[in-house]
Amino acid sequence: MIVETGHYALILALALAVAQSVGGLFGPARRSARLGALADSAALGQAVFASLAFGALVAAHVTSDFSVANVASNSHSSKPMLYKVAGAWGNHEGSMAFWVLILALFGAAVAAFGGNLPASLRARVLGVQGAIGTGFLAFVLFTSNPFARVFPPPLDGKGLNPLLQDPGLAFHPPFLYLGYVGFSVTFAFAVAALLEGRVDAAWARWVRPWALAAWSFLTIGIALGSWWAYYELGWGGFWFWDPVENASFLPWLIGTALVHSAIVCERRGALKSWTVLLAILAFSLSLIGTFLVRSGVLTSVHAFASDPERGVFILALIAATVGGSLALYAWRAPRMAPGGTFEPISREGALVVNNLLLATAAATVFLGTLYPLFLEALGGEKISVGAPYFDATFVPLALPLFLLMGVGPSLAWKRADARAAFVRLRFAAALAGAVALVVLAIEGGARILPALGIGLSVWIAAGVAVDLAERIKLFSAPFAQTLGRARHLPLGRWGMATAHLGAAIVVAGVTASSAWQTEKIQMMRAGDAVDLTGYRVVFEGVGEVPGPNYIAERGTFRVSRGSREIAMLLPERRTYPVERQQTTEAAIHTTWLADIYIVIGEGDGTGAHAARLYYNPLVPWIWLGAVIAAFGGALAAADRRARTPATAGAPDARIVI
């Protein structure tokens, strides 16, 4: 009964999505306020029914209702409760239902919090959202119905892919989808602006918090995914330039460009059509990301649900959404009033360079991901584009970006004094240079990249600190005044500082763990010891341990430093009998400065086991930094000024965002 209610609610949500798109798109065109207002109530109703539908699906998973095909093929009665719940979105049908739910929730949020938007703009934004919702709800209902029944119901389910039975991955898709789908709002704003024929400072001000929210969610989602790959795939790495990883990274790069270009659009009235294009691209790439994961076009370690039949439907949806919006862009964008010109040495100049670098980086990643397909389609030749390509193209673009990050926030709008900015940042520059030289000396001059990476990380962090200290007159004014200034500094400013600091931490983590990872791979017998970068690791043997729905071979390793015992690490190889699959569970001891990471491999039958031991310096900083950066994005999104109606008039060059 619950299941049928859910199915019915999903059909009602589709009907409301149709109403939302009709009301929202035709209301303003016919100057009918009532038709436009229909979009508001339809959006709220769609969210209610989509929530009901998804709630019903979760209920079916929690109660292990195996008469539902989706539960039967993805769940099992012996599965722990967390994964029964997470199983609702850990499969194709459920994840698409979840996608639609989030879209409906974002639509409702626009309807509920968009009170300060002009009525016609709000109606059009909701109309575009409704149209997207219509397409995807139809996709779910007609090709991927999560509520389909099976008869006769099986006695027990087939189980969830064991790789997905993991806390990191249980929460990875929700955040990733919040990010992907969050960009549907900025997309809707962009299309609505093209329909209205007007992009102004107020528009940019309304778009920015949505872009920041989506960006923050996507940052967390990608970080969770990379964390999962790090400890679950057991390869000791955190990023593999895998097509599916790239698919989530592309909207992130474009989204990062978008949150920066929207500032220029808001403050200087420039980069209008560029910002609109970025808003369209961020969501388009999110859709293409979904398509790549689902369609089975690319090989990937992550593509768990692939089905070419559905790929056709999704490709048609993408063609309509992306192709339609880009065609509208080609038609309407040239008519938008161009913004003013500006000086190269200025805040907006730095942001333009930032956008060029980010867009180029996105283009190289996009090409690298699709190039093998492209070549194959042309000549049938199969080639691979591996990590070396991405390292070789991405790093040279990232380095100048980091260099710019240190100085950009200190530049004034309109026309900045480059020399004054460098005088202000001389301590930051000196510190970063000194650190880079020390790293270079330790390396013996053999490699430049680690020194550059660590130096740039220090440069960004010190730049943020100097800029903040300057603004709150730290040490140059009485402490009470400093405190008062800190309190009055806009939240957006704190958000930016926090996000950039997070980025600095990520840069340090990526640099150190790529440059100074130690890897030991060898056969070990009970009693064998290995030296791992100052630690001594003793292997004590392997035992069999039963789990709730798996059997594990668990190795015991004692880690000590000098005479002090530090940790006992218990890596596992789990065999899931229901799914007939094996997973590795790396055991990790973290000091927050480094991880000791051990994976146990297969035995050779004579008592020796293959063990892989890694010393990964600063690797936890990658995820710590990502969380800090996402928090910064959330702070900036919460800035009060983003929610008040924009005032007309030229912005004051000294009050900075």
């Binding site: 790495g237 059509s273 294009l277 369209i280 490709l315 992306v322 862009y329 040239p334 199969k382 491999g601």
Partner: protein
Amino acid sequence: MKRVLYIVPVLAFAAAAALLGSRLGHDPQALPSALIDRPVPNFALPSPLEGAPGLATGDLKGRVTLVNIFASWCVPCGVEHPELTKLAREGRVAVVGINYKDKTADVRRWLGQLGNPFARIGQDLDGRVAIEWGVYGVPESFIVDAEGRIRFRHAGPLRPEDVTDRILPLIAKLGG
């Protein structure tokens, strides 16, 4: 002229969509049909190890051989390494490797740490030979029969079930 610029995004998308659409339904793990049951491409590669024999077309005749394309920078290659080691030790099939776009020092260190399961290794510095083989990504493995014809291709790391369910039965069938 300026208007043309605004049309570029939609044209680029149309090209990308056409590309993705044309690839639907193709299994990226499948071997290009042109190569299956065909003789292995002509090649001769030196070994990355000092004084060790390289790998050439002629070496793949006479017995059933598993050709593994690997690189030290490829993480999944380390994952499948124990499977290759086991296959090599059991001796039912000759295991040889093509080292793909690698540095000599790196591959020597990699083999030194993990052990070398390969009877012969050819070093494919610029990836030309791998292209002849139709390699899409590393790791990949091919089964070549005693007449030197490619009979099977596996993309991605070899998992234990790949070996037991597909590789070993095929080797038995080919009389390895």
